[in-house]
Subunit: 202 residues, 2 copies
């Protein structure tokens, strides 16, 4: 199995973190997330959206969208509930992550930490405010729970952990979210956890 | 089963269209998508993101995010593949829809057709350009296929149909996308199809 990957991308980190918990190893192909020239040639036949991560199976079939990839990898494992409603709740958080969290938190991190030509300050502030709305929703939910779904560590936690744990790089003050703070420590303490910058196991 | 719904929302239409194909009827509770006051009181205990649609089961459990709801409803039915990789491909398109399609196409439709205080023209144009990028990705994919996944009608088609079929309301010229045009006709011709403005069956 081959993963088109980027060390700087939280979306790619989700896949590496799920692989680590599942004790799976895969070949990594690093893709530049700042210089996007050549994307169509590299990924056009693999992902219509031209983004990483993309997982390529040994028979050549390709799967894109980070949350679809971790759902596929975790299917039937301890990282995914088998009960239908809990499965749907995991999906609810995965879609929340891609609609309300990533476009605001990951994009602000990218603008602040990587972009060579970031947008005006007011636009960054507006996105950061929406990121805080997403963090407040997670904080409310976690104030009475240990994990996002079914009181078990699942791919929902992996997906939300990826860009929450490094949100401070985008100027998000996580001290405002004590339940999120405890949850981040809980996720990092799971057996099998690897940090975002961990070297790939050989 | 109760659905917090909006006739104007394509995200809600996805759920109504899936229900129609599954021959399920549910009680509808109309929620205003323009006047958003009172959202926290109405939906706060049901959906941390305070959005419709929300599905409430007879035992009171609530499920949010349109694509999680249709995944839950379609699980085990003819609208969802059972083979693991095809299931993951359906998820890939559902995440593409929420990340690359809805935030650009649905939001532009909302700004043009509903918003009382839309953003400046240049911002609408920038979003519309991103919407065309999403439509081009779908057009490339459908140029050699009848449906998005596994050559079968699935919830991936339902999810992408919702805001594509009415994209012209947001100023998107669909004549540029012949494969999408044929696919839209194919979806509307499926047995059990209902239009977005169809009255709820009694």
């Amino acid at each position: 199995v081959l993963l088109y990957d980027s060390r700087a991308s939280g979306n790619c980190y989700k896949v590496r973190l799920a692989l680590a918990h599942l004790r799976l190893v895969c070949e990594l192909h690093e893709v530049d997330v700042v210089d996007r020239s050549g994307r169509a040639e590299l990924l056009g036949h693999l992902n219509p959206a031209l983004r990483v991560p993309v997982l390529v199976l040994d028979d050549g079939r390709a799967l894109a969208e980070s949350n679809a990839i971790i759902s596929y990898l975790a299917d039937g494992s301890h990282l995914a509930p088998s009960e239908p409603f809990a499965r749907a709740q995991v999906l609810q958080w995965l879609f929340f992550e891609q609609y309300s969290h990533e476009p605001n938190i990951a994009v602000v991190i990218f603008w602040v930490a990587y972009a060579t030509d970031p947008p005006p300050h007011a636009e960054i502030e507006a996105r950061r405010a929406l990121g805080h709305v997403a963090l407040e929703a997670i904080e409310r939910h976690l104030s009475s729970r240990s994990f996002l779904v079914a009181e078990k560590f699942t791919i929902a936690d992996i997906a939300l952990y990826a860009y929450t744990h490094c949100a401070q790089r985008g100027g998000f003050d996580l001290d405002r979210y004590p339940a999120i703070g405890r949850w981040l420590q809980r996720i990092a303490a799971q057996e099998g956890h690897v940090p975002m910058d961990a070297p790939q196991p050989k």
